[in-house]
Structures are given as C-alpha cells and as structure tokens.
Amino acid sequence: MKITYNWLKDFIDLKVPPFELAEKLTMAGLEVVSLKESGEDFIFEIEITSNRPDWLSIEGIAREVSAICGGTLKTKTPKELKFKNKGILSVPLLVSNKKDCPFYSGRVICGVKVGPSPGWLKKRLELLGCRSVNNIVDITNYILFELGQPLHAFDLDKIEGPQICVRRAMANEKIITIDGKEQLLDPEILVIADKNKPVAIAGIMGGREAEVAIGTRNILLESAVFNPVLLRRGRQKLGLQSESVYRFERGVSLSGAARASFIASDLILSLASGNPCGYKSLGSFKTADRLINLDPAYVKRVLGGAIPAVKMKQILNKLGLVVKVKAKQILSVKVPDFRQDLKLPVDLVEEIARIYGYEKIAQSTPAVVPQEKLLSKRDITCAIKNLLSGLGLHEVITYSLIDRALLAKTGIKTDSEVVEILNPLSCEQEVLRPSLLPSLIRCVAFNLNQQIDYVNIFEIANVFLARPHSVEEEPVLAIALCGVHSFLSKQGLVKDDINILHLKGILEALFNKLKVKDFNFIPQDDGKISILLGQKQAGFMLELSRQALDSVDIKNRQVVLAEVNLKQLFGCIGFEKKFASLPKYPAITRDISFVIKQDIAVRDLLIAIEEKGAPLLRSARIADYYQGKQIPAGFIGLTVSCVYRLDERTLTEEEVNPLHNTVCSLLEERFGIKLR
C-alpha cells in the first residue's frame, strides 16, 4: 500500500516530518518498507497486515496517525445529493443471493463529460503508481485509495435492459475484461450482468464492453460489498488480481460503501459535470454495534506492565472506538464496522499495547517449571550425529521432496508406493522420498564434480511411506562413501580405495558405541547386505550398480551406501552402562596363520572356532589377511588370533595347547585350511 505525505495532510495536521513519521508507523505495526521523495511530496510504501483492511486507505492510515502522533482526524462528510429512488432513470436491480452480495447500490449520473482528469488528480494517482485513464475512472480509483472502498463505473448506454443483476456466472459464460483478456467463467464466480450477459466480474475486474470511455454520456456508479471468500476463490481460480479484490477479500465496511458512493458522485459532478438521476440499492448498510467489555486488570495480566486506565481509554478513542467507563472500571467499548478485526478483549489489548508502544512494556523473566526429562529421541539422534562426525563423516541435509526420475535412475527400490505431491512447482518436488539414498547419491555426484575425490557423508531425516490410510514417517540414517581416501601414515601417503568394509567399520563403531548387543551383517541374494539388529532386519548396505552410477554420471568410482531405520536402532541401544570386572589372570594368545579358499565365509569360520574353543576361548578375531605373490589364486592368507583365559586362575600352556590343536584340526577338516 502506497500513500503520500501530502494526501495524508488532507485528513490530519501533520507535525512530524516524513522520516520520523515512517519510524513511528513502523513501530505501530504499519511497517514502512520504503520512503521516497518525489517532487514536493513523499511516497510511503507500507506493508499492511491482512487483518487490517481499514489501513488500505489514506483515511484509515490518517486515523492511525492521529492515535500515534496526536492531532484530530478530519473525516470527509458527503454532501447530500438529490438522487431519486424511483423514476425512469433508476435501473432495475436484482441480487440473486444476499450472502454473495450483502449490499449493492447503483447511482445513475447523466450527461457526464468524459475527458482527462485535472492535473492534481492525475498527479496523486501517479504517485501511487496508478495510471490515469479518464476523469470518471480516475475518480473511482481516487476514492478507492482515499477511502478504501472499491467502486466501478459502467457506461449505462451499453448495459442492456437497462438492468443490473448480481448473480453467479453460468457455466461456460465468457467475458472480456478491461485488460483485453477473455475469461471463461463458471458458477463459482460472481458477476454483474445486464439483461443478457456479464458486464463485470464482481469486485474483481470490469468488462471491456461497458467500460467508461471518451463519448460515454450516462454512467452507473456501483458501490457494493461482496462476499470476501467467494471473491477470493474466484480471483484465485481466474488468476486475476486487482486493487478492488485485494480490499474486498480483506473485508470492506458496509457503511463505508454507502458513504463512498456519495463522495464519489459529488466529485464526478464537480469534475465531469452531469446530473444526479436515479438511485437503487439492495441490502442494508447499517450494522449492529459490537460491544466489547475490557477489564484494565486483564490488560495488565496479558501485558505485564501498568498502563493507566485513562491512557487505555484515550488510545481506544483515538482509534475511532467509543469507550464508556462502567462499574469497577470496566471499559465498555463500541467497535465501528470498519474494525471487523476487533472481536475479543485481547484484540483491544493489542491495540492499547501497539499505540502505547511495545518498547515501553518492561521485560521480565518467567518462572519456567522444567518438565520431567527423559532421554529423548533427539538426544540420541544428536549422539549419533556426533559419533559419525567423530568418525570423520560430514553431515548433509537434502530435500525431502525429490523427482520420480531420480528414484528410477538410482534403482533404489522400496517396499511401498511413494507419496505424491498434489501441487508441486517443479518436477523436483514430485514425491516425498521413501529413501534417503537417491539424494545422497546425487550429493556424491555433485561433490565428485567439484573435483573432491573422497566423499564421506551421512544424513538423518524422515522417509515417507504410503500406507492405505495415512503416510508413515520413519526416521532413517543413511551413509554414503565414495572415492579414494588418501591419508598420511608413518610410511607416507596411503591411498585407500573405498569399499563396503569401510562402511561396515563405521556401522560397527557406531553400534558398539551405542552398546547395541546383537548386530550382524548378512549377505542377501540380491547382492545387498542386510543389517540385522536384534535378529531383525533394520537396514542394508549396498554397492551401487554400474548402471546406476552411469545414470548419475559417476565414472571410475564405487559408491557404497547404507540405510538404517532409527526407530529400530533406538530399540536396540543399551542405555544402562554396567561395569564388568577386569580380568585378574593373564590370558594366553595363540595365532593361527593359514591359507584358505576365498569362497569360504570368514564369519562361518569364526563361529566354528568360537564353538570349538569354548569355554576357555574368550575371543577369536582376524588379526591379518593377505592376498598376493605367496598365496595361490583363489585363496587368501589369514591370521586368526585366539585368546584363552580363565577368570579363576592362570591358565597353563598344558591346558591351552591341546584345545588349540583341536581348533586347528577342526579348521583343517571342516574348512580345508592349510597351515602356514
């Protein structure tokens, strides 16, 4: 909303200079977003909140200024003009539904001379960015800006009948609006029609045919109030916007409509001559007064400060409300119909606080009763994030909305349908992702493109699964590793090509830190590796297929990925920390180095060793592996380190050696190992 300093002066004696006024308006809730000097005037651009249609006028802002800065508001009183309610020149009027149009009035002015507007009028409109058309149209716009009431003038001779009907458009009815575009209408849209066809889209935009132009002699001046919801839906449907509908949507006052019609007619008669003729109106512009009782103690309860009741009364009066003091200091406040936003006592509290000044309300510290605090999911999530970043990974955040094509390209399959978005702006917002992996793959590709050769990232976010009656949201952890991890060691630079064991290592570290008791990695038939938590599948690891890599332009690189359902992980975390006493007696360690066929699963081997060595064998782990010159093709060299220990006393070699030998023979017999 734009206003000018001089126009404002028509309504109030301004004592504050423009820049100070801008500051004061901003601090009262009318945020001045720009202030420009133009000739001898200043243009204020103000952001008007949607609850204040009364601020969409010079007069409304002047009223506010009088409350903020002092000074008396000079309202315009309409001159009594002699329009006749009957007679040949009054146009028959029909409103098909009062809910659509609570008030409609049409004044006929005959013998007008349509021509250019006087300079002062043109200038004022131009300062607000409104193009001058002709004196009649300019006057309707002028009143719109000044009083906030949208008006429309029709060329009466182009209205068939002549008659006016406010009705819903018929299916497939058409109109060419003043912007020259044809609009297809339907019964959801309210129109002003003559005997045969729509002549305007009610409250939104006039039609070109009955437009007032040079040569127009007789006009019909419309001033009305339309249903805000109906107009809002209509303009959304048609994709139209206008100063008029902007105001109708927010709410136009009934009494204002009646008054503006008089003031505009007066201006037309003095600038374009003509004679007042017929007048017809339907609906009442009188409304019942709304009374709100305000207890000054309530104001204090909400705001916390001590504003004197006298000051409250004074502020409300200045805003155009009528205040009476009743028993026990209760203020009885009468609300005028241009303040539809004031309904509850708390609305008046805001008015008082706003004008009194938010900055004058003291600060205090509330007594917060802390809630009983259990370890929340968020705390665990934070812990996981910290662990992973400690393991060298970088957290990313990617969009929850993705394009369907990405899902297909990356070949990430999920067991449910995807959730589709009804109104995406682009294909990148087509669906809610059922997996984080496509986004991470894209993120890896992006970073490789930036010549980064080692990408190690993770994300924790929700995935969305389509269920029959609702959408299921599941928190998920996803990790992606790619490229060559180069790092310095004592021996110099090591270049480590990322593979799935790196990913496993990260997950193992994470699960161990979270005290997950029972986790396993089991290969599946489809090449993926299941992550089992407490015997249940809670996620998987995979190496991205060549085809998928090609589709996202990743060349000569492997990408390994993991996704873990966090709800399941949360259920397996060991929160209780319990101390296990340290071993009192030394252990005996025996390493077995051997050569084994490559297709034998190491996991099976270790399980067999553990079973055989129990209970003296406390752990068996892979201490080394080797493939190379000394090992025949298809074989791998392994060293398993076996630790034997007793809690009660020191073990002797005599006890361990025979047991260890049986372990070795088991390996030879069952797995065909060759000791080295």
């Binding site: 606080a353 309300i361 509330p366 992973l388």
Partner: protein, 337 residues
C-alpha cells in the same frame, strides 16, 4: 694409589662416552660389585690402622663423586637422545590422524538454540512433517479462506485428503497442548515446506524453530525478557532488540522481533537494507482461540509463542549470503562448520 688420579681418569673416560651402553660399561667397571671402587674399599682392612680412616673417607667421596658424574652423564645422554630424535622428525610435517568430520550448520544452530532454551527449562519436542489441515491452519486460528493464509503457501498430498506438508512448526503447538496440561515449556525444531520458487533467499524446504510457554501468569513482558536472553546468547551481549507490532492469526498481541544489524551495528548497510535492523523472528501471546481449540482454559492460562527460520539465523551468524548453499552440500562448505 692416588685417588685424585683415579678420579681424573674416570672423568676422562666418561667424557668419551656417547651411548647408554658405554655408560653402563663404565658404571660396572667402577661401581660394579667387582669394580674398582669395591676393590679399593676391600683393600682398606689391609692398610695400617692410622691410614684406614683417611683413605676410607677418600674412597667414599670418590664413590659419591662418580655416582654423581654418571647420573649427570645419563641425563645429558637422554637429552641428546631426544634432541637427536627431534632432528630425525620434522615437526613441520603433517600430523598423523584421521581428518575430522562435521555437522551441518543448520544442526549447529538448532543445537545452540535448543541448548539456550534447555537451560531456561524448556524441553525439546518434535512433530511429524506430514500434517492435517486442521493442525496446520484451523487449530491455529488461520481461516482456510482468508488472505492471512497467503503467507502460508502449502504443499498438499495426492490421495490423502486434507493432508499436507506442514508449512510451519506451529502445528506441533497444537499437538503438544492437546496431549499435555500446563505448565508447558517446549521448543520445537524441524523441517517445513512451502511451494516457493528457489532463489538466493527462498527454498521450498527450510527449517524453523518454535517455542511456547503456557502457565498461569505468563505475560508479554516475559516474552520480551525471554527473547532478550535468547538474542544476547546467540548474537552477543551488545546486540539490541526491538519488538514491532505485527499480525499473526495464532497470537494476540503479535510482534516481529528485530535485532540491531550485526554487520553495521545499526548504522545501516546493504545487509539490513539501510534500516539498521534485521528481522529475525515472530512472536506473541497465544490467541485465546488457539486455547479454545486445544481445550485450555483461557481464563486460567496465558502463554507466549515465538518462531524463527533457522537458515536466516545461520546466514546472519555465519555470514552466508545464499540460502541454496545449505542444501547443495558442497563438502568445501560443510567442512567449514
């Protein structure tokens, strides 16, 4: 035998020692069980009685002297040793360790804000991203067909009637108040969605954090005090804050909160649009209609609510000028946090 001569000999010998092994040899030679000093001590009884006392003292003095000399030599050898090692490894070479990972800047800001409010006694609560139209709008006193909804353009879901992606974190207020009685002090971080065209300051997904406090006697002045504490914690104690009246359907009175520009300290620059102030959050006293929807007694309780965009705070705090950087996830960007 002349004790002084022996001492001189030992001193000379020690001066030539350059390794711990050689030092050990010298030690054994003189101080060992069969060493020279033991030999000298053993020879005492063979001396005439009147000479025994004097010679004994001399031998003892020599022993102490030699012990000290060896100890001193040992120390100097150790020092030489580490000096030698120093020369072996150039400390200017890179250290050997795994490179550290990083948390996303948005995570850092959320953690920081949650921590500040945790200390004041607020708990963190999270809610679903797929919401009902009721929780996102109606329950928050936002009429479905009113221009006040224009600020909340919303993604709707196909196939699920009245389901949408929350356009702000406020629906969690409704959920929280429906499930718990006052006093209620919660802080709600999370993702939100709005169909906005993407540019340097707009995205269709971003993060918000929301806080509410409901109890008997919660006042607008408490809101001011709480947010003052918050802004000073995040932006430093010299920051100024101002409350500007505004309109939100779910609060009354409502305010927008500005802080003095952290770039120009209020003088006016390009970041603050020459205003000297930066808008950082919206706040207000919870509207009685919201209480009505969740079944709270507005006569008994009052409360405040506030909400802000995390990206906005992160951009101001870290000096990031393009919001798209947050979700591009360039490692060179992420590693800075």
């Amino acid at each position: 035998m002349d004790i002084n001569l022996i001492q001189e000999k030992i001193e000379n010998e020690l001066a030539g020692v350059i390794s711990p092994q050689a030092l050990e040899e010298v030690r054994v030679k003189y101080l060992g069980r069969k060493g020279l000093i033991a030999e000298l001590t053993g020879s005492i009884p063979m001396l005439p009685i009147d000479k025994r006392g004097g010679f004994g003292k001399e031998v003892n003095a020599l022993k102490i002297k030699v012990l000290n000399l060896i100890e001193e030599k040992e120390r100097s050898l150790k020092n030489q040793d580490s000096a030698a090692k120093k020369n072996n490894i150039d400390i200017g070479m890179p250290g050997i360790a795994q490179g550290p990972g990083s948390l996303h800047p948005i995570t850092h800001i959320i953690d920081e804000i949650c921590t500040i409010f945790n200390r004041m006694g607020f708990s963190v609560l999270e809610g679903p991203e797929v919401e009902t139209e009721y929780n996102n709008f109606t329950g928050l006193n936002i009429p479905l067909d009113h221009p006040s909804r224009d600020a909340f353009d919303t993604f709707y879901l196909k196939k699920y009637a009245k389901s949408l992606l929350r356009s702000h974190t406020s629906p969690v207020q409704v959920r929280a108040m429906k499930t718990a009685k006052p006093p209620l002090a919660i802080i709600v971080p999370g993702r939100v969605y709005r169909p906005d065209a993407v540019d340097a300051s707009h995205l269709f997904m971003f993060h918000q954090i929301e806080g509410i406090l409901v109890d008997r006697n919660i006042k607008f002045s408490d809101l001011k005090g709480t947010l003052e504490m918050f802004t000073k914690n995040v932006f430093g104690k010299d920051i100024k804050m101002r409350f500007r009246p505004h309109f939100f359907p779910f609060t009354e009175p409502s305010a927008e909160v500005d802080i003095s520009c952290i770039i120009c300290c209020g003088k006016g620059c390009s970041v603050c649009g020459r205003k000297g102030w930066l808008e950082i959050l919206g706040a207000g006293m919870i509207h009685p209609n919201v209480f009505k929807h969740v079944g709270y007694d507005a006569k008994k309780y009052t409360g405040f609510a506030f909400g802000m965009g995390i990206e906005r705070i992160a951009m101001l705090k870290y000096g990031i000028n393009d919001i798209r950087l947050f979700f591009e996830n360039d490692l060179r960007f992420l590693k800075q946090f």
